[in-house]
């Protein structure tokens, strides 16, 4: 692996970590909140709560993936 590959690998591991779904959930939640802000839709309170809800969904999706993996392993 070249040093460029190692460089990106290091930052990927440092920032994204073990589960990309959780990081992606944060990205999607904030991007969604950002769109609402740019379009001027919803109050501050609504945008903050919706964004928080979307972040939680990302975490739950990440945890659910692990749960399904474990259940599949138990069945096999």
């Amino acid at each position: 692996v070249s040093w460029v590959g190692r460089f990106f690998r290091f930052w990927y591991d440092f920032i994204v970590g073990d589960d990309w779904r959780v990081a992606a959930g944060v990205g999607v939640a904030l991007a969604g909140g950002g769109v609402l802000v740019v379009l001027g839709i919803g109050s501050d309170a609504a945008i903050t709560l919706l964004s928080l809800g979307a972040i939680v969904v990302g975490l739950v999706i990440g945890l659910n993936a692990e749960r399904r993996k474990r259940l599949a392993r138990d069945r096999s």
Partner: protein, 266 residues
């Protein structure tokens, strides 16, 4: 948001102290395994090289962070902190629910020791290169995480000194305990600490990242959470409740599946 508030200062010091404690225990475990197996000279040289590099990174990153508007700072740092915190929390929840093995510092120590024993001997600059590189990487990576947490928490709350002090105390405690015990600190209840840190970092991360979305509107003024200053303690309680609920959900579903399979087999 946390400026001048007692809850903010207590949260800041607690989060930085516990996070630094966990990171230093991990670094110490690796350096100890390398030092015992390959010799202390190269292992300590790796630690010194990492400790010399970290301040340079801190100055560069810190200077860059000071130059950005508040909402951009909240958005960028809050996002990184949030991802960081959720990863800690995710692992802690999985461990608490029994879906992931508890991190065992004794096992980590044995694995590092075995890897160090099997690695070949290559000498560069008069040092055992394997021992130097592994110790450097361990100290640099764990130290970088601590620097990141100190800077983000410290700059956001305008209390870098307080945050740095908490990290230094954690380092001294780990070093003293390690020297006295001469063994990896497996007695530190790592998952409990990680659970706490994950919740604290996720709390601050979600607060700042979402506030920082205000960067995208005219005037770049941060978004306001409902409840104003009360948002911080409310978010903290929210993340605690959610995490405990998720642990219970995972425990229940896995236990139910196990029982169902047993009944199916019977």
């Amino acid at each position: 948001v946390v400026e001048g508030t007692d809850a903010g200062s207590v949260g800041l010091v607690t989060a930085v102290f516990i996070a630094a404690l966990v990171e230093f225990v991990e670094a110490f475990t690796i350096v100890l395994a390398i030092g015992i197996t390959r010799g202390w000279r190269s292992a300590i040289a790796g630690v010194i090289a990492a400790c010399a590099t970290l301040p340079l990174v801190t100055v560069v990153v810190g200077a860059a962070l000071l130059r950005v508007p508040e909402s951009m700072f909240q958005l960028v740092i809050g996002t990184l902190l949030l991802i960081f915190g959720l990863q800690w929390l995710r692992k802690a929840i999985l461990r608490s629910a029994g879906l992931k093995a508890l991190h065992d510092e004794d096992a980590a120590f044995r694995e590092e020791q075995e890897a160090a024993r099997l690695a070949g001997h290559e000498t560069r600059f008069g040092l055992d290169w394997f021992a130097f590189v592994v110790s450097f990487k361990a100290m640099f990576l764990e130290g970088l995480e601590v620097v990141f947490i100190v800077l983000t928490f410290g700059l956001s709350a305008d209390a870098v000194g307080l945050a740095a002090g908490a990290a230094v105390i954690a380092a001294v405690i780990v070093l003293l305990a390690g020297l006295l015990l001469h063994k990896p600190m497996s007695r530190v209840p790592e998952n409990t600490l990680k659970f706490g840190v994950g919740i604290l970092i996720s709390t601050f991360g979600s607060l700042w990242a979402i506030e920082g979305l205000g960067l995208l509107r005219a005037g770049s003024e941060s978004l306001d959470w409902p409840g104003g200053d009360l948002a911080l303690p409310v978010l903290l309680v929210f993340w605690i409740t959610l995490s405990l609920g998720l642990v219970a959900w995972l425990k229940n579903t896995v236990a139910a599946a196990t029982v169902g399979e047993r009944e199916g087999v019977a």
